[in-house]
Structures are given as structure tokens and as C-alpha cells.
């Protein structure tokens, strides 16, 4: 019963972009791990390659079935993910002051990454049923709020502020995207005006300090502030054409913090300069635009909102990560899609692409 149109409508652009990102990611990672000793360097690159391969398989798996199944399974997926988060909270392995990883034999996974997709799916399902021209009323916003706050609370407790904030951002953007009633807007704004000073008042001194430092890393010149300075030096010193592959001094000399994960963009910027960074940014822009056009072309509400939500996720991760590296955003641990080292992040992104492809290749089905 194979429909030939599935191949005709297959999204070759997305596939091409994904392969380009995989290739660029490995090249940059190879350079980013130069600072370490050669043994671990090799292992990290091979591991990343394995993650890409696993990701490709999962990507294919994510477009083989009809994405409407996701609508039916939204709640189940969501509950499983939340349970994983709870398991992490109790049994997760403790590293770097946080409980984020589940150790399963040889691999460790980070459920907070995959939870992002679960939240998008369940919100897409809910909004596809409730969205209307008038916009969402306050009552209709209660469920999405609960869907968002459960994983938020669990992830904040790990603690992983970056991912927790990302979930709020995605859910917020999706909600604004499907339109909120004007009256609801007024209520929400008023609520924020009252609650924010109240929360600030209730917070203890050191908590306030932490938030202020988060918003302005310069307040912590020995921690985040120092990282940002080094990162800015790395980016800026790339100048127009860059220092060349494997020639980044900031990178090789280990001045950069987390250079193969959160700060990997600074390695790219240092070694490939404005030209290289611009190319990378344009590829990312193409990806986001492609995602939005898939939402645009989809004639089914669930599919359109799902595609929109996933694109928004990718968009925010790109903007927050690159913004942070260039000193425009607070220092939060958000990986750069497809490029940062890390299995959970790569696999999540590949699944996102798979779902986008799924929606794209089935756009004819409602005609």
C-alpha cells in the first residue's frame, strides 16, 4: 500500500541540510577537542559520529509512520517522558553538581532533552483542538500551563536552568503563535506586573544575586563573566577570514570553557572567521525558514502547529546558544543544535528533523 507520492513529496532540502550540519559539526568538533589529549579527542569524535548515525536511524524512524499517530499517542509520550524525569530526580547520576543523566549500560541519556519534544507534541494536540480566530481564553490556557510547569519544575530541580527556561520559552512562543485572546493578554500582563516584584521580594539575598548574575554575567568576573570574555575574544579574534582550521589559539590553549559543548560556536568563529560563521548562520536560517514553510504548507492544524513548535525549538536553541557565546544572552547551558557534542542533544535534533520531514512528505494527504 505504499503511496509513491511519499517519495515525490520527500523533503530533500531538510535531508541535505542535516547532512551538511553533521559534516560541519564533526569538523568543528574535531578542532574543538584539540585541547584535550589525543586519546580522548579521538574517542569524542567517534562517539559523536556514532550519535549522528543513531540519530539518522531515529530520524528515518520518525518519518516512516504517519505523524497523526503522534496526536493519538501524545499523552502516552508525555507521561513516559515525565516519568523518566522523575526517575532521573531519584536515580540519576550526579555530575557537576546536578542530576541530569540516566546511566543505561554504556550510554547515559539526558531525558530533559527529549522532554522538549513531548511538550511540543502535547501542546500541538491541545492547541489543534482549541485554537480559534478569537484566540485562547484564560480557561483554555490552564491545561497548557500545567503541561509546561510539570517538566519545568522537574528540570529546575535537577538543576538545569537552561533547559527549564527553554521549555517555558517554547511553550510560550507556541501559545502566542496560535493566538491568545486580547482579554487574556491583559490579564497575563497584569499578573506578571504583580507577581514579579512579589517573587523578587520573597527571594533571599543570594538567590537575587544569582538571578542578577544570570542576567548580567559581568557581575561574576571569576565565573560566567570570565567565560564570556574569553568566548568574545575567541569570536572576535577570528576577524573576517578566521585563523584557519585547527589554528584557533583560544581554542587550542583551553581558554574556552566547555568548548566542545555549549561554547563550540566560538571555536567555529575563531577558526573560520566572519565568513565561516555567516555561512553557518545562513544554514541555520535556511533550516528555520524551511521548518516554517513546512508549517505553512501543512493543511492540518495539528501538523501545522507541531511543525511550528519544533521549528521554534530549533530556533530558540540556535539564538540562545549563539547569543550567549557572543555575550548577548545570559550564560545558560543550551547546546547548539547538530554541532555541540552530546548524544541526547544530537538525537533530539534528528528526531525533530524526522518529524518535520514526516509532516512535509504527508502534506498531500488532506487534499
Amino acid at each position: 500500500m505504499f503511496d509513491r507520492r511519499l517519495i515525490r513529496y520527500f523533503d530533500w532540502v531538510l535531508l541535505g541540510l542535516t547532512i551538511i550540519f553533521g559534516f560541519l559539526g564533526l569538523v568543528i568538533l574535531y578542532s574543538a577537542v584539540m585541547a584535550g589529549d589525543p586519546g580522548t579527542q579521538k574517542i569524542l569524535c567517534i562517539k559523536q559520529l556514532i550519535w549522528y548515525s543513531v540519530g539518522l536511524v531515529l530520524m528515518v524512524a520518525s518519518f516512516l509512520f504517519n505523524y497523526k499517530m503522534l496526536e493519538r499517542w501524545a499523552h502516552a509520550i508525555y507521561v513516559i517522558c515525565i516519568m523518566l524525569l522523575i526517575v532521573v530526580l531519584f536515580f540519576g547520576s550526579y555530575a557537576g553538581g546536578a542530576r541530569r543523566w540516566l546511566i543505561l549500560g554504556p550510554v547515559s541519556i539526558q531525558p530533559s532533552e527529549i522532554v522538549k519534544i513531548a511538550v511540543i507534541i502535547i501542546l500541538a494536540r491541545y492547541y489543534s483542538k482549541h485554537a480559534n480566530i478569537g484566540g485562547l481564553t484564560l480557561r483554555e490556557l490552564v491545561m497548557p500551563l500545567i503541561f509546561t510547569l510539570i517538566p519545568f519544575a522537574l528540570i529546575v530541580n535537577q538543576p538545569d536552568l537552561g533547559t527549564a527556561i527553554l521549555i517555558i520559552l517554547i511553550a510560550g512562543s507556541m501559545t502566542v503563535f496560535v493566538k491568545i485572546e486580547k482579554r487574556s493578554y491583559i490579564y497575563i500582563t497584569a499578573f506578571c506586573f504583580i507577581s514579579v516584584p512579589l517573587i523578587l521580594f520573597l527571594l533571599k539575598g543570594y538567590q537575587k544575586q544569582r538571578i542578577l548574575t544570570f542576567l548580567n554575567p559581568d557581575r561574576d568576573p571569576l565565573g560566567a563573566g570570565y567565560h564570556i570574555i574569553q568566548s568574545k575574544i575567541a569570536v572576535g579574534s577570528g576577524m573576517i577570514s578566521g585563523k584557519g582550521f585547527l589554528q584557533g589559539t583560544q581554542n587550542i590553549l583551553a581558554f574556552l570553557p566547555e568548548q566542545h559543548t555549549d561554547f563550540i560556536f566560538s571555536v567555529l568563529a575563531e577558526e573560520w572567521g566572519f565568513v565561516g560563521s555567516l555561512v553557518m548562520l545562513l544554514f541555520f536560517l535556511m533550516l528555520v525558514v524551511r521548518g516554517l514553510s513546512i508549517a505553512y504548507g501543512c493543511r492540518d492544524t495539528f501538523g501545522a502547529i507541531l511543525a511550528g513548535g519544533i521549528t521554534i525549538l530549533i530556533f530558540w536553541q540556535i539564538v540562545i546558544n549563539i547569543g550567549m557565546v557572543m555575550g548577548l544572552m545570559p550564560v545558560v547551558g543550551v547546546p547548539l543544535p547538530f554541532i555541540s557534542y552530546g548524544g541526547s542533544s544530537i538525537i533530539t535534533m534528528m528526531i525533530c528533523i524526522g518529524i518535520l520531514m514526516n509532516i512535509s512528505m504527508r502534506r498531500f494527504m488532506i487534499e
Binding site: 485554537a131 575574544i233 577570528g238
Partner: protein
């Protein structure tokens, strides 16, 4: 599903997507502008900064809080230590620099080089510690030839200094390098490898207050690693200062009196529960832990048969011997088994079952009452009291007097001691309690085990009229600026742990007995008398039985280990006590001859000092 997309409104939905598209493009434009600003407009400046690689981070260690005695006499402070580090990237050629350096710091060059080579994976841009505490002479010499030593960095770090060698070492504790287990434990989140943490005593118990908060500097350095500009500084916050309850003069006297013997002395203010002295002998030099000691030195310390690393006043367990008669007397009086006037006949021994229990005085004490029995430490009298009480009632009183459980002093590894009951023995050995065992327990032998601190608190409670205070070692904690930190968890305020299970009359009788022991004609503790000060006390001579002997221990050693422990507990002045003391001398034979004089001198020292008299 698809409520509005199939209708004419789907255009409206697409409108929203187009708005989103504009937002996305705007965000990317911002990113690109920033990129352009950093890389093209400011690119030259950043390239310069990156080429010199000149922004470094230096940490500033916080000075650890100081420790004072109750009269604000300094006990522990910090002195500057000059630590020599090398930054391999700047120190080129490394061999040459190290070669020249070795002469100044008197360490062979090959030792230094192998130290550098051994540490693989160190960043050539980060300082690598070559030698701690090079001393002022070497510092002056190296500073004078600064330009011959590229990439050499000398950091001044505060280093712990224990002013009075060996004094109160067990109470104050010591600092030592954090080990990998402690790093992994998560209890020291702010510590990095190489940091010093409190490992024992107050240094450990109040480490969180003493530590302070490290600061740091962002500095710009030139090509040879010299600092050209300080960009940002975060000052280190010094730790809080601690004022202990101990009196340095009394503490010194206590340690002096314990010189040459193994044992412990503890003194307390009965009115508040403040510990005035807490000494354990032999002691150790805390500074040697800070300076780092060789494996041999460490081994010598831990294998010393007199156990210098143990705080015997808090961790030591001994049979209480005759000092326990205070408990038996209280129990007998309270339970109505004896009154002030009850007399038993002591012929010098007492028969129970088929065993004959001896009194220490072979000829016997004759017809004797409770006061005289305490004063002359008659065993037979207390055998009979104990027998009539039974083990479990006796144990109840002992526990109510605070024995058999930790006193709650805020120091590590406090022992709880042991107060046996019939059920305990059954559980432990499977054998039922024997009647005769009660007699041994009644005079403080048998299974009984107490720490000197527990006996001190019991004595203090008898002295002050029956209130058991929690022992305090901390008077106040202040910030470096002198602001007092008040926190209930600090244990600086007088705190009642319980009351003695004794009426005022009972206590008066017991006190009379203790007074007679020192001041009576035949008292066992007459040696503790002081002219002009009424001292009350109780001696004890703890038999050492069934002690396991090492195969290789020599004859002399065996003889030493068979000698009984000497106890003395006392308070003074008898009617208005200002100090209570507990003394134990391990294998000191007789409480009266070895322990009592120590207590006497301690009381004399404390009460004759002008501060207390006024």
C-alpha cells in the same frame, strides 16, 4: 480536527506564520550584526588580546578565621606562605629556568623537572605549583632576580599557624589537604584539590564558619607572564573568628600536668557548662599537618602505643571505678534502699553466692554509713546497695546521670560509653546476667565504660545542684569585622541536657561524702586539699582486666598495661562551685596518688587567677 485551516480563515493562520518568519529573520539579523561587530569592527582588538593570551584568572585564598580562647587570647592564626609556581608557556626555556631556580629554593633541578613531567595534562598556561612556602629569604632572592625567571609566579597564601605548639591540639584539631574521597563526597562543594580543610576538632566541626570565601582577579599579563594590569578583582571574604570557652592558662597548666603520662583532663564551669580545659596526652604538633608530614612521621603518630591522635577526654572509654559510687549512692538513696543513717558492716570482704568480693581495705571499714563510704571509698557498702538495687535499676540511674550516651559536645567521634543491663548482656553474649556481676558494676568495674567528659558532666551536675548542662566549647563566633553571628545550631548558649535523678537532700548527702573524701580525717583524696579552698572530690582506681596483649610486647610494656587507671573527679569551692574537673591517668595506679594532685593544681591555678576571684 482542522477546524479552521480548511476554511477561509486559513489565510489568517498563514498571516501569523509570516509574522513569525519576520521575527526569525530579525533575530538572525541581530546575530549577524553582533558577529560583524565582534569580528570585523572590534576584530583587531580581540585578535591582539588573543595573541597575547593575556587574560588570566588568579585566585585569592581567603584568610581562615582565627581561633581565640575565652579571654580573647589568640590560639590560631595565619601566616603568609610564599608559594612558587611555574607557567610553562612563559618559562621558556623551562630547563634553564628550573636549573637556576633550584639553587634558590634548595631543591635539586631533576626533582623539580620530574615533578613537572609527572603531571601530564596540565595546561601550559596555568600556574603549576612547584614548592609551597619557600620562605622569606628565597622570596627576596627570587624577587631580586625577577627578570631571570620568566614564567615564575610567587603567590602569597595565608597558611594556618598554631601558635602554642601542642596546646589543645585535640580540641582545636588541625588542617590538612583535602583527599580525593572527601572531594567526591560532595560535602565540600567549594573546595578544589590541594585545598586545606579541617580534619579534626573545632577546625572540622566549625570548618564552614572558619573557611571564608575565595576571591579572584582577572589580570592582563605580558609575554613573560608578568601582570601588567588588574582588570577585575573580587575580594576574598575572610572566615569567621571563633572564641572558644577554654582558658589558655588553665589549658597550658593541664597539659603541663599531664606531661609524661597518657591520660586526659577536662574542666568545666558547673554554672554554665562551658568547658574550661580539655587536654589529652600525649599531644601532637598541629603545624606538622599543615606543613605536610612524611609517611614515616604519620606512621609514627598513628602507631604510637599511647595513641596521641585520640582525644582521650572525649573518645576514651574507661571503667569509672570508684567515681561511679556517686551514681550508686544516688540510686540507693532515691530508691529508699539506704538513708543518710543506714549503716552496713564492712569486714573487708563480702560474700555473694560462692564468690568472695573484697573491699580495697583488707581489714575492713567496720560499721559505715553512706557519707563515710563515699569518703573512704568502701566497696562492701556499695556492694550491698548494688545488690539490693539490682542491675537494671542501677543502670537506669546511671543513664539518667548522663552516662552511656554521648554528651553532645560538638566534636568528632565522641564515645557513648557503656552502661550494662541484663537485657544488654543477654543480647550481646547470650548468657544471663549473674548476680555477682551487679556487685562489680556497683563499684564501677565490670562492663561499665565511661569517657572522662561524661564523668566531668556528672560531677558538674552534682556540684551545681543537679542540672546537667550540655558541654559548650564555643563562646561566640564573630565575623572578621567583629559582628556576632547568632545561630541556634552553633551551641554557644547555655543548654540544659537534663537533670540528675536526685532530690536536694540526696545531693546534699553525696556532696557531703565528696567533701569528706578530700577534707575528712580518713578521706581517700586528702592529697587534693588546698588551703583556703574547700575542694570536694572522688577518687577511682580502675582495674584493667582481660586486656589483650601484643605478642611482641616486652615485659615492661606488659607490666605497664596491667597497672590500673587512676581517676579523680572534683569540684571547688564546695559550697559555690566555680570549676569541676575530671582527670584520668592511664595505668596511673592510684587515683589518690597520680590523678588527684593534677586536679588539685588545676583548681588552684583556676581559682587563684584574678579573673575568677573578682
Amino acid at each position: 480536527m482542522g477546524k479552521y485551516l480548511k476554511t477561509a480563515d486559513s489565510d489568517w493562520f498563514k498571516q501569523r506564520l509570516i509574522v513569525v518568519m519576520y521575527c526569525v529573520i530579525a533575530a538572525f539579523v541581530v546575530l549577524i550584526c553582533r558577529l560583524f561587530y565582534l569580528q570585523v569592527i572590534e576584530g583587531n582588538e580581540f585578535r591582539r588580546l588573543s595573541e597575547n593570551n593575556c587574560i588570566r584568572l588568579q585566585s585569592i585564598d581567603p584568610p581562615r578565621g582565627l581561633i581565640y580562647d575565652r579571654n580573647r587570647v589568640l590560639l590560631v592564626d595565619n601566616r603568609p606562605s610564599f608559594d612558587l609556581s611555574i607557567i610553562l608557556k612563559d618559562a621558556k626555556p623551562v630547563d634553564d629556568t628550573v636549573e637556576k631556580l633550584s639553587g634558590y629554593i634548595k631543591v635539586p633541578a631533576d626533582v623539580l623537572m620530574s615533578k613537572i613531567k609527572k603531571c601530564k595534562g596540565i595546561s601550559i598556561y596555568k600556574p603549576f605549583l612547584l614548592k609551597r612556602d619557600i620562605g622569606r629569604d628565597a622570596l627576596a632572592a627570587i624577587e631580586a632576580h625577577k627578570y631571570d625567571f620568566p614564567g615564575i609566579e610567587i603567590n602569597v597564601r595565608p597558611r594556618r599557624h598554631y601558635i602554642n605548639r601542642q596546646i589543645a591540639a585535640h580540641l582545636i584539631g588541625y588542617l590538612s589537604k583535602i583527599n580525593s574521597d572527601e572531594l567526591k563526597s560532595g560535602k565540600y562543594p567549594a573546595c578544589r584539590s590541594g585545598d586545606f580543610i579541617g580534619k579534626f576538632g573545632v577546625e572540622k566541626a566549625y570548618g564552614g564558619y572558619l573557611r571564608g570565601k575565595p576571591g579572584g582577579r582577572q589580570v592582563e599579563v605580558n609575554a613573560t607572564g608578568q601582570v601588567v594590569r588588574i582588570l577585575r578583582t573580587v575580594d576574598a571574604r575572610p572566615g569567621h573568628n571563633i572564641y572558644l570557652t577554654i582558658d589558655l592558662k588553665l589549658q597550658q597548666k593541664a597539659e603541663e600536668l599531664l606531661e609524661g603520662v597518657a591520660g586526659a583532663v577536662a574542666a568545666i564551669d558547673p554554672a554554665t557548662g562551658e568547658i574550661l580545659a580539655l587536654a589529652s596526652s600525649p599531644s601532637f604538633d598541629q603545624n606538622s599537618f599543615v606543613n605536610g608530614m612524611s609517611h614515616k612521621e604519620w606512621h609514627a603518630l598513628v602507631s604510637n602505643r599511647f595513641r596521641p591522635m585520640e582525644n582521650k577526654a572525649v573518645q576514651g572509654e574507661y571503667p569509672p571505678a570508684s567515681t561511679y559510687k556517686i551514681v550508686t549512692a544516688i540510686a540507693g538513696l532515691e530508691e529508699g534502699i539506704i538513708t543518710k543513717d543506714t549503716r552496713f558492716y564492712c569486714p573487708g570482704h563480702y560474700k555473694c553466692g560462692d564468690r568472695d568480693f573484697r573491699c580495697w581495705k583488707k581489714v575492713g571499714h567496720g560499721n559505715i554509713d553512706v557519707v563515710t563510704s563515699l569518703a573512704e571509698s568502701c566497696d562492701v557498702f556499695f556492694y550491698q546497695v548494688g545488690q539490693k538495687l539490682g542491675i537494671d535499676r542501677l543502670a537506669w540511674y546511671a543513664k539518667a546521670c548522663g552516662l552511656g550516651s554521648p554528651t553532645g559536645i560538638n566534636l568528632d567521634q565522641e564515645t557513648s560509653g557503656l552502661i550494662p543491663t541484663a537485657a544488654w548482656k543477654k543480647r550481646r553474649t547470650g548468657i544471663a546476667w549473674q548476680r555477682g556481676e551487679t556487685l562489680s558494676v556497683a563499684i564501677g568495674q565490670g562492663y561499665n565504660l565511661v569517657s572522662p567528659l561524661q564523668m566531668l558532666l556528672l560531677t558538674s551536675a552534682v556540684a551545681n545542684g543537679g542540672i546537667r548542662y550540655k558541654p559548650l566549647i564555643l563562646k561566640t563566633i564573630e565575623t572578621a569585622e567583629g559582628k556576632i553571628i547568632s545561630d541556634d545550631s552553633l551551641h554557644t548558649k547555655r543548654e540544659i541536657a537534663g537533670k540528675l535523678p536526685a532530690s536536694r537532700q540526696t545531693l546534699a548527702i553525696v556532696k557531703k561524702g565528696l567533701w569528706e573524701a578530700v577534707n575528712g580525717r580518713k578521706g581517700t583524696a586528702r592529697i587534693a586539699r588546698i588551703d583556703g579552698i574547700a575542694v570536694s572530690g572522688k577518687t577511682g582506681t580502675a582495674q584493667v582486666v582481660g586486656r589483650q596483649q601484643d605478642e611482641d610486647s616486652d615485659e615492661e610494656d606488659r607490666a605497664y598495661h596491667l597497672k590500673p587507671h587512676a581517676w579523680f573527679v572534683a569540684f571547688a569551692p564546695s559550697d559555690e562551685p566555680k570549676i569541676a574537673v575530671a582527670v584520668i591517668v592511664e595505668h596511673g595506679e592510684h587515683g589518690s596518688s597520680t590523678a588527684a594532685p593534677i586536679a588539685r593544681e588545676l583548681i588552684r591555678t583556676y581559682l587563684s587567677s584574678s579573673r575568677v576571684v573578682e
